[in-house]
């Protein structure tokens, strides 16, 4: 059975290429049909915000890559509710379907995967 990866994405979407490079790891796993889940945490939760306008920064829209995840078979998407809350985003709609998880569920997720990669 293939080994699984929990990718923890902690970078804000427009703070450099960190967030995009983390997503590329996920897309590559999908391309090889390997089991990978993503947990958006810390500033990474900002990647899921609706109504962002990266074109104001002449940046490529990360949301295209995010929307591509299910097509690549990456369907286990989680977002740390606590990290949304401290940013004043507790009830905001998300641009992508991701399960809102509490700390206990995150502990479980970590234990359920063979590898944890944080970027």
């Amino acid at each position: 059975m293939a080994k699984s990866v929990l990718l923890i994405s902690r970078q804000a979407p427009w703070a450099g290429i960190g967030a995009a490079e983390a997503l590329d790891i996920a897309l590559a796993a999908g391309a090889f049909d390997l089991p990978l889940s993503i947990l958006f945490m810390d500033d990474g939760v900002l990647q899921l915000l609706d109504q962002q306008q990266p074109q104001a920064l002449e940046q490529k829209d990360l949301s295209a890559n995010l929307q591509a995840l299910p097509m690549f078979g990456i369907e286990q998407l989680y977002v740390a509710q606590h990290c949304l809350t401290v940013r004043g985003l507790a009830d905001n709609p998300l641009a992508l379907t991701a399960e809102r998880v509490d700390d206990q569920r995150i502990q479980q997720l970590i234990r359920q995967h063979d590898y944890v990669m944080t970027l």
Partner: protein, 100 residues
């Protein structure tokens, strides 16, 4: 002899914003750009820090960064800047301090 402070780090890397606020003189200005504009998001922990700021200090934000991040800047008394306005501000204050 006022100073224009520029901050660009995310408020979750807290020392940039809090250190800047500690050493602000009356009449100084702050420009939020890059991830620092997250501090302007209503309801965030960082936004609360900004409430105590001296009334003689003006708060500005780079408009493109506010737009990109879908922040409703109307919740705070913030003046949005384009680049020409940003340059004009740097001329108007006596010096610029970038908290990189």
């Amino acid at each position: 002899m006022t100073t224009l402070h520029i901050i660009n780090a995310a408020p979750t890397q807290t020392t940039q914003l809090s250190s800047c606020l500690r050493v602000l003189s009356a009449g100084d200005g702050i420009v939020f750009c890059g991830e620092a504009v997250q501090a302007l998001r209503a309801g965030s922990l960082a936004a609360q820090q900004l409430q105590g700021i001296d009334h003689s200090c003006k708060v500005y934000a780079l408009e493109e960064d506010v737009l990109a991040r879908a922040i409703d800047a109307e919740a705070l008394p913030v003046t949005l800047l384009d680049y020409p306005a940003f340059v004009a501000l740097c001329v108007a204050y006596s010096r610029v301090s970038s908290w990189t």
